[in-house]
Amino acid sequence: MSEGSRGSREATAALAVRRPWRTGNTGDAIARVVVAALGLSVLALAGLLIYELIDKSWQSITEFGLGFITSTTWDQVARKFGAAPAIYGTLVSSLIALVLAVPVSVGAAIFLSEMAPPWLRNPFSFLVEMLAALPSVVLGLWGIYILVPWVRDAVEKPLRSHLSFIPLFDGPPFGFGMLAAGLILAIMVLPIITAISRDVMLAVPNSQREAMLALGATRWEVISGAVLPYCRSGLVGAVILGLGRALGETMAVTMVIGRGYNITASLFQPASTAASTVASEFNEAAYGLYVSALVELALILLGITLLVNVLARLLVWRVARSPEVIAE
């Protein structure tokens, strides 16, 4: 027998192992095509999404060029549009959210994975998931009538009277503004970061903890010396996924941020994010260039969130697939 045919027979055998139920049936062929089309539709959707947004914002892209990102003018009457305040608002409100939410989330995750007994862990995890399931518009309603007055009277006024030499805490306390938006975003990313952090901490093998305990470590030293370093990249991934959610969150932010278009150091001033601008102005946009500029804002938002999500997924995937975790 020739070398070549033996090779091809081996290849066929290998194929048969990989696809043990390959048959030549019409129903099978149709089923295969249908589910393959549905599977590939995920890819098509992603491509179409990017294409459509570029296509619809092309007028604005050609009109303003790169200046769209750096210009601070947003003037419907003069037909001049710049995204800088919206991009600034998106980044700053998300940053506030992370600063507030990350310590609490990681703390809660440590409690759930390292401290809580099982009878307490499950109900607590369930409640945290319920917080994630709250519709954004309901949080926005709560934000307008409960959170904003509280922020104005209990947070902004005292901060202003004691710390107004810091530019962040200067300016009239409106309630509606960057700080309220950051707070409501913190509430929204809290359950996400907590749930993922808890999962990656639970994936740390017990042998790691036991080794640390055997050295005479305290419970916190076990966590800081063994658990956290082991799942570091998973935690970073969790935080970045939370960031991705915060950047694109729309309704609750739109309802409490107050629709301001200035870049100011003060956190008390009304501001806007890319998502909130699109949400509140899209139906008012009366002419093509205006719509196109709003679509370009959406495109920029898509670009930022895609970047953040790709990064986060790569980090979380790496942890989830590392051999040690699978062995456990």
Partner: protein, 280 residues
């Protein structure tokens, strides 16, 4: 070992663990705070009119949001009709057909798509459907929600289908059953609990979405049952409109509608959980 250093280590440990326990309490406390207000304010303004009457002209008392509830059922229904079968199909492809490389590309893309802001999906469907049809519609809103459901559904159904033991597939095929019949009558029934859970969670997610509806459903103060005929209302959309408006009468109804929406979303999420954990 000096007693001082040991005490300091113990103290640090206690303090940090105390902070962690407090953090968990904060997370749950925030939920209680929000739910408490929604319950208190919602129940006090809840009445039968909310479910049976249409919105009154602005500023006038009375009326309800029956049109929004019908609209929500219609749009989410359309979304479920498109998104769930498509998502399960994509899940079947990932678990039963796709090779390692293509499967990973699709999985990764689906994961990234779940992170795309829903408002971007709304703008996308506005361009793809609303502009092409020439008007807003329940269909456009349903498509937008279906696009949000698809990647979630694909990933969750793949995970559930993978849990079906390989031996069951082989047993069916050994009996001479074709592959597609095996999938339809052996694998999918075996995984149905998980698929139902995934579907319910996707519906709960879609039911609370507001942002993509702004440019696809638009809103409509009258009762509409038309799938493709014109603008339609939805509960989250009505809450948004009422909450940001100036009338206190509408604020009351926004709280009541929020109460209804939250109860529906929680009931669906809870059912999803029970379906999965119930023992045979």
């Amino acid at each position: 070992m000096s007693g001082f250093a040991y005490r300091r280590r113990k103290t640090t440990s206690t303090l940090v663990l105390g902070f962690c326990a407090a953090s968990a309490l904060v997370a749950v406390g925030v939920l209680a705070l929000i739910l408490g207000f929604v319950l208190a304010k919602g129940i006090s303004s809840l009445n039968v009119d909310l479910f049976t009457k249409l919105p009154r002209p602005e500023g006038e008392p009375g009326g309800g949001v029956a049109n929004s509830m019908v609209g929500s059922l219609l749009t989410v229904g359309i979304a479920a009709l498109i998104g769930i079968p498509a998502g399960v199909g994509a899940g079947v492809f990932l678990s039963e057909y796709a090779g390692a490389r293509l499967g990973n590309i699709i999985r990764f893309t689906a994961d990234v798509l779940t992170g795309v802001p829903s408002i971007v999906v709304g703008v996308f469907v506005y361009g793809m459907v609303v502009l092409k049809m020439g008007h807003f519609s329940a269909l456009a809103a349903g498509i937008a929600l279906a696009i949000i459901m698809l990647p979630i559904m694909a990933r969750s159904s793949e995970e559930m289908l993978k849990l079906v033991p390989r031996s069951q597939r082989e047993a069916a095929l050994a009996l001479g059953i074709t592959r597609w019949r095996t999938i339809l009558s052996v694998i999918i029934p075996a995984a149905r609990r998980g698929l139902v859970t995934g579907g319910l969670l996707a519906v709960a997610r879609a039911g609370g979405e507001t942002a993509p509806l702004i440019f696809t459903a638009l809103g409509n103060p009258f009762l509409s049952l038309s799938v493709a005929g014109g603008p339609i209302d939805a509960l989250p959309l009505r809450i948004y409109r009422y909450a940001t408006g100036p009338y206190s009468e509408q604020h009351q109804q926004a709280w009541a509608a929020s109460f209804v929406l939250v109860m529906m979303v929680f009931a669906i999420s809870l059912t999803a959980r029970l379906v999965l954990t119930r023992r045979r």
